[in-house]
Structure formats: structure tokens, C-alpha cells
């Protein structure tokens, strides 16, 4: 960074000097042309036009040629310095040694300061020295047409003072040039340094800001880890050093001093019964470069046991070499305990459920067996008795037996529906309805007066729980038969069923006694019976609705007392293959 800074600084100085050079060059253009024009003006006095054009022109040509040919180099500036000296000599000559023309050297010297390079004074000094020496000597040796001064005679003292003053001028101009340059450089450096300091300050502030953000993020991470009881770790497999987060140590109830950052230190905490499988699991993950996830019991310093869930993944370098394993550990002791409790509760529930099922089944069987024995005897008696009254009594007895039997079947149906799993299988509507119709034909003596008609349209296989489906239809159809209208000329039950890929829609219509409007909402309630005289248990329609719910279907009812009842059932097709 420092080197970059220095090179940048150097570039800045270069650019600055380049600007000075360009500005000076522009000024010099005016000065040089003025010098040349000055020569032309002076030529009027002593008719020195040839000198003005020849010498002045050569100086101009020398300057611009050098500048054009060597634009990168500063040689042209030295040529300029020489040229100015020559202009001085030219002017002195043109004005026949007019002493004031010597000042041109001083003007030139001052002009050269603009380049801020003291060395540019040297060519000028050399030209002046050579000119003074040569022309002074030649004039005083009496050579015609050589002009150095208008003084008839110049003593050594005057000459020395002349030289000393000239030297002071040149020296001073050189010094100023040098100082200006130094001053500019220092100024640039200072500006630059200030910029650098500001930049550094800004960077420091930015770093401070970032590190604050970083600290906040880190705090949040730690807090999140603490809340979730999740610690993280990273295991460098090359060095066998494991980094662990604060939460990791908190879960393990150990300080970093008590638990070395190694694999072995962690393995020492593991319950000895889990050690083999954990070792195998980790080795497996490393060998196969696979992610890892296992639950393990770990021993706390106070000998208590925690269950943790360790999860991790492998990091592989570009060449496929395993570099590290990193991941998390989570304290799942509480969850594990809850799971165990839940499992136990589930187990108990399952047990008590199946006990209940067995109970319901055996009760229903044990109730039903003697009931049917009774019915056997009643049947025989009714058949064989000579007594009209006895036969009548037997018929009444049979009615009660049938009601009780029906009730028992319904309790069984209810228990089956409430607890059993849904078993999806195909349903053949026609077969099932015929079966039900045949079963119910024997239901009661009076059912022979009820005509049952079927209209089935099934195009596709229909999938649902066959047992439950049958319970629904059986209940509804037997209700339709049971509550037929004795006053009707011809009682009927019309069953229409239609099944497609989505739904089955079944309509059961009768011309029975019907349900008064105010009861229609309630008939699906448990143990609800429309009248005390009805022979039902009050469970039938309740079971129907419960079962329809289980099959995710819908049931609706339309009824008018004395006219009949219409039931609509919609059951979805569970198209499982």
C-alpha cells in the first residue's frame, strides 16, 4: 500500500511538472517571437536587417526544430536558454554595443525561472561568458565592426563588477527556479499527504463500522445458538483441531479448558454404549465423504446424561481431498424425553384402544349369542304353537329381539368406524346393492310389501373403504324400509347410484312416513329418535354421518311427512392404484 502511495505521489508530481512545462512553453512562444520582432525593430537603427532575420531566425529554427524532434526530452529548453543568450548578443551587436542591451540577458534569465529548473541558467551563462570574453577582447583589440560596448574604455574593475552583478542575477534566478520547484513539490506532497490521511481515517472508520456489525452479528448468532440449544463446530482434519462455539461448550457443560479442541476429547464424553456406533458413523462419513447425522448420549461432568443430535457435512478441496468436517450439535434431551413419554402414551393408548375393540366385540358377541338362541326358540314356538295368542306373543317377542340385535350391530358398526383404519378397495355398486337388498328382504315381515328398485350407472372403478361404504348404504336403505308408510298403496325404495372418476352420487328415495321439518336437522345426532314409538336405536343415522365424514363425503336430506324422504350422498373416489 505504501509503495502504491509513493508511486501515485510521483505520478502527481510528474503531472504537475508537465502542466508547468506546458504553461511555460506557451509563454516562451510569445517571448521568442517578441525577441525576433525586437530584432527587426532594432534593425532600423543601424540597418542590420540581415542580422535580425539571419541570427534571430536561426535561433527560432534551432528552438522549434529541437522541440519538434525531441518532444519528450527537455533539451529544447537548454536550446532556448542558449537562444536567449544569442538574442542578447544579437541585440548588442545591432545597437552597436549599446550597454543597456546587456540587460536582455537578465530578462532571459528571469524568463527561464518559469521552468523551475536552475540548470537552464547554465547555457545562458556560458553564452554570456563566451560572448563577453570573445567580443570584449576582440573590440578592445581594435577589430572593426565588432560591438561589445559603447564605452571607449572599460577598466578591469568595471568589468569585474559587471561580471559579479551578472553572476548574482543568474544565481538568484537559478535559486528561485530551484526554490519554486522544491516548494511546488512540497506543496503537492502535503496536499497528497492530507488526502492520504483523510483516506486512512475513512478506512479506519469503515473498518470500525464493519467490526461493529460483525460483533453484533456474532452476538446475534451466539444468542440464536443459545435459544435453540444448537452449538456449532468445525473439525480441521489436517491438524485435528476442532473449533467449537460457546453454545457447544455450554451444552457439554464444560469450559474450553476442560475439553481439549480434539476429536478424542469429544469421544471421551460419549456414553460407552454409544461409542462403537458413533465411531463407526464418523469413520463411515469420512471414508465415504458423506454428510453425517446421529443421536448420541453424552455424559456431563456431574454424570448426568444428555441426548444430542449431531449433524455435519464434509468439505472437500478442489482435488477431492477431505479437508474438514463441520456442523452442529443440538441438545435434544427434552425432546427425547417427550418422545419417549409420547411413545409410551401412544403404546398405552393403542393397548387400551385394542382392549376396547376386543371388549366391544366380545360384549356384542356375548350379548348377541344368547339373544339369537332365544330367537331360535321363539321361531320354533311361533311355528309350532297351536295357540293363536302364543303365536302373537312370539311375534312381539321377535320384534324386541330384532330391535336389540339391531342395536348391538349398530354399536359394533360405530366402534368399527370410529377406530378402524380406512382400507381402500374397489367397490362394485351393483353387487353391493344387490347384496344389501337380499339381506334386507328378510329384515322384517312387513318388508315384503316394500319394492326395492336399483338404477346403477358405474363407468369407472370406484375406490373407497368398502366396509364403511356398506354401513352407510345398509343403514339408509334399512331405514327407508323400516319407516315405510303402512297407508301407502305400494311402498317403494328407489336407489340411484352413479360413479365416475371423481365422485359417486347416490340417491335413496322412498315414499315412507317422512321426517317433520323441525327434526330434519337433528336426525343425525347421537341417540336422537324422532318419536318414542320408533323402533330404532337412535344410532343409525349418527353412524351414517360419522362414516360419511370418515370417507370425506357429504350427506343431505329432503323429506316431507306423509310423502317420503330423499337422501343424497356424495362420496369421493379415492383413485389409488
Amino acid at each position: 500500500m505504501e509503495a502504491a502511495y509513493n508511486s501515485s505521489k510521483a505520478t502527481h508530481i510528474e503531472v504537475f511538472l508537465e502542466q508547468i512545462k506546458n504553461k511555460s512553453d506557451r509563454l516562451v512562444n510569445y517571448f521568442l517571437i517578441s525577441f525576433f520582432l525586437g530584432g527587426l525593430v532594432l534593425s532600423v537603427f543601424y540597418d542590420t536587417k540581415d542580422i535580425a532575420v539571419g541570427v534571430g531566425g536561426l535561433s527560432l529554427i534551432a528552438y522549434y526544430t529541437t522541440k519538434l524532434l525531441l518532444p519528450k526530452s527537455d533539451i529544447y529548453q537548454y536550446v532556448l536558454s542558449t537562444g536567449i543568450g544569442i538574442f542578447m548578443a544579437q541585440y548588442i551587436y545591432q545597437m552597436h554595443g549599446m550597454f543597456e542591451m546587456h540587460f536582455v540577458a537578465f530578462i532571459g534569465s528571469a524568463i527561464l525561472i518559469t521552468y523551475q529548473n536552475w540548470k537552464l541558467q547554465i547555457p545562458l551563462v556560458l553564452v554570456v561568458v563566451v560572448h563577453h570574453g570573445l567580443f570584449g577582447y576582440l573590440q578592445f583589440s581594435g577589430l572593426e565592426d565588432i560591438y561589445f560596448t559603447q564605452l571607449e574604455y572599460m577598466d578591469l574593475q568595471t568589468f569585474i563588477i559587471h561580471i559579479v552583478l551578472a553572476a548574482v542575477i543568474f544565481f538568484t534566478c537559478g535559486l528561485w527556479a530551484h526554490h519554486f520547484k522544491k516548494y511546488s513539490e512540497r506543496h503537492i506532497e502535503q496536499t497528497f499527504e492530507t488526502g492520504r490521511l483523510i483516506e486512512e481515517q475513512k478506512q479506519k472508520e469503515a473498518i470500525l463500522l464493519i467490526s461493529e456489525d460483525l460483533k453484533k452479528a456474532n452476538d446475534r448468532l451466539n444468542e440464536a445458538q443459545r435459544i435453540a440449544s444448537i452449538g456449532d463446530w468445525s473439525w480441521d482434519l489436517q491438524t485435528n483441531v476442532i473449533y467449537r462455539s460457546a453454545e457447544f461448550y455450554r451444552i457439554m457443560e464444560r469450559t474450553p479448558d476442560e475439553m481439549a479442541p480434539t476429536y478424542e476429547a469429544f469421544m471421551e464424553c460419549i456414553h460407552k454404549d454409544d461409542l462403537d456406533f458413533v465411531t463407526a458413523t464418523i469413520n463411515d462419513s469420512i471414508a465415504g465423504q458423506k454428510p453425517i447425522s446421529f443421536e448420541v448420549r453424552v455424559i456431563m461432568p456431574d454424570k448426568s446424561v444428555k441426548t444430542i443430535l449431531a449433524q455435519g457435512k464434509v468439505v472437500v478441496d478442489g482435488k477431492g481431498v477431505l479437508k474438514e468436517l463441520h456442523g452442529t450439535i443440538q441438545d435434544i434431551t427434552e425432546r427425547k424425553r417427550n418422545e419417549t413419554t409420547l411413545q409410551r402414551t401412544n403404546e398405552e393408548l393403542r393397548k387400551s384402544n385394542s382392549e376396547l375393540d376386543r371388549f366391544v366385540y366380545s360384549v356384542s358377541h356375548d350379548l348377541r349369542a344368547p339373544l339369537l338362541s332365544m330367537q331360535g326358540i321363539v321361531d320354533i314356538t311361533e311355528e309350532e304353537s297351536e295357540e293363536e295368542l302364543t303365536r302373537e306373543h312370539m311375534k312381539m317377542l321377535k320384534g324386541s329381539i330384532s330391535r336389540l340385535d339391531n342395536f348391538i350391530s349398530e354399536i359394533l358398526d360405530y366402534s368399527r368406524n370410529a377406530r378402524g383404519e380406512i382400507k381402500v378397495n374397489t367397490v362394485d355398486f351393483k353387487n353391493m346393492l344387490l347384496e344389501i337388498k337380499n339381506d334386507l328382504q328378510y329384515m322384517a315381515n312387513d318388508s315384503r310389501n316394500v319394492s326395492i328398485s336399483l338404477d346403477v350407472k358405474q363407468d369407472t372403478p370406484f375406490y373407497t373403504d368398502q366396509g364403511r361404504f356398506k354401513i352407510i348404504l345398509n343403514n339408509l336403505i334399512s331405514n327407508a324400509i323400516r319407516y315405510h308408510n303402512p297407508l301407502a298403496e305400494q311402498s317403494f325404495v328407489r336407489i340411484k347410484a352413479h360413479a365416475d372418476e371423481q365422485m359417486s352420487i347416490i340417491e335413496i328415495e322412498d315414499n315412507g312416513i317422512g321426517i317433520p321439518r323441525q327434526y330434519q336437522e337433528k336426525v343425525f345426532d347421537m341417540f336422537y329418535r324422532v318419536s318414542e314409538n320408533s323402533s330404532g336405536s337412535g344410532l343409525g343415522l349418527y353412524i351414517v354421518r360419522e362414516t360419511v365424514d370418515k370417507l370425506k363425503g357429504q350427506i343431505t336430506l329432503e323429506s316431507e311427512p306423509g310423502v317420503g324422504t330423499k337422501c343424497f350422498i356424495k362420496i369421493p373416489n379415492l383413485n389409488f392404484q
Partner: protein, 140 residues
């Protein structure tokens, strides 16, 4: 024409009344010359195992209950299955039960030895059914 009368019918049921009802209806309807009753499946199977080589002593129809102590109807059928094939052909096995269990029904219907599952109590119409099942089985 006089209806066909079986030589021998066996009833296996632990309930006295149920055995009585069946045998009574059979007698009343002239169903068989002899009705032998067993209150335990173990005794019934023992009889069959002892007499399997004497066709004249074997029953032509067996009325079998399901729920019985010690050995139930299905265990009886397992033992029966071990006996020679001709016994199963000349004995028509009918299951007569008060069970409402779907499983019992399915097991009975899927058992090749069982010709029919009938719900208790037995009635006159059932007798006719048993007759025709018997003729279908023996093929005459």
C-alpha cells in the same frame, strides 16, 4: 316326492339351546335319520379322526359353531383338513354362528372345506339350502 333324508348329521356347538334348536328343526322337517351332538369341538374331531376309515359312521353334514372354548370352529377345520380328502368331499361343512365379525365371515368363506356361512338361528329355508349344497358337493 319325499324330500331327501340324510343318514347322519353332526352338530358342533357349545350352547345347549342352539344345539337343541338345530336338532329340533331337523327332526321336525325330517332332515336326518340321526343327529349327533357335540358340545366341544375336541370331542367331535376325535370322533372323526377315529372313524375316518369307516365311511358309514361319518356324518354327511356338519353344522359347526365358531366361538367355542378350548377349540374353536377354525381350529376344528384345521384338524379336519389333515384327514383324507374323501372325508371333506362327503361331509358338507356348514358354519353356523352369531358372529358379526367381518374377519370371521371372510375366513369362513375363504376356507375350501366350508360350504356356507349361515347366521344364527337356523331356519327351515336353510335346510333346503344345505340339501342342495350337499348334492352339488357330492356331484349327484
Amino acid at each position: 316326492m319325499e324330500p331327501f333324508k340324510f343318514e347322519k348329521v353332526m352338530i358342533v356347538d357349545d350352547t345347549t339351546i342352539d344345539r337343541y334348536v338345530v336338532s329340533h328343526i331337523m327332526k321336525k322337517n325330517d332332515f336326518a335319520n340321526e343327529v349327533i351332538e357335540y358340545d366341544m369341538a375336541t370331542k367331535a374331531i376325535a370322533f372323526l379322526e377315529q372313524n375316518y376309515d369307516k365311511p358309514e359312521t361319518l356324518p354327511q353334514v356338519i353344522i359347526l359353531d365358531i366361538n367355542m372354548p378350548e377349540m374353536d370352529g377354525f381350529q376344528f377345520l384345521e384338524r379336519l383338513a389333515l384327514l383324507p380328502e374323501y372325508i371333506k368331499q362327503c361331509c358338507t361343512v356348514i358354519m353356523l354362528s352369531s358372529s358379526l365379525s367381518q374377519t370371521d365371515h371372510e375366513r369362513a368363506e375363504n376356507n375350501p372345506i366350508v360350504k356356507k356361512f349361515i347366521n344364527k338361528p337356523l331356519n327351515k329355508a336353510n335346510l333346503e339350502e344345505i340339501r342342495s349344497l350337499y348334492f352339488k358337493a357330492v356331484g349327484s
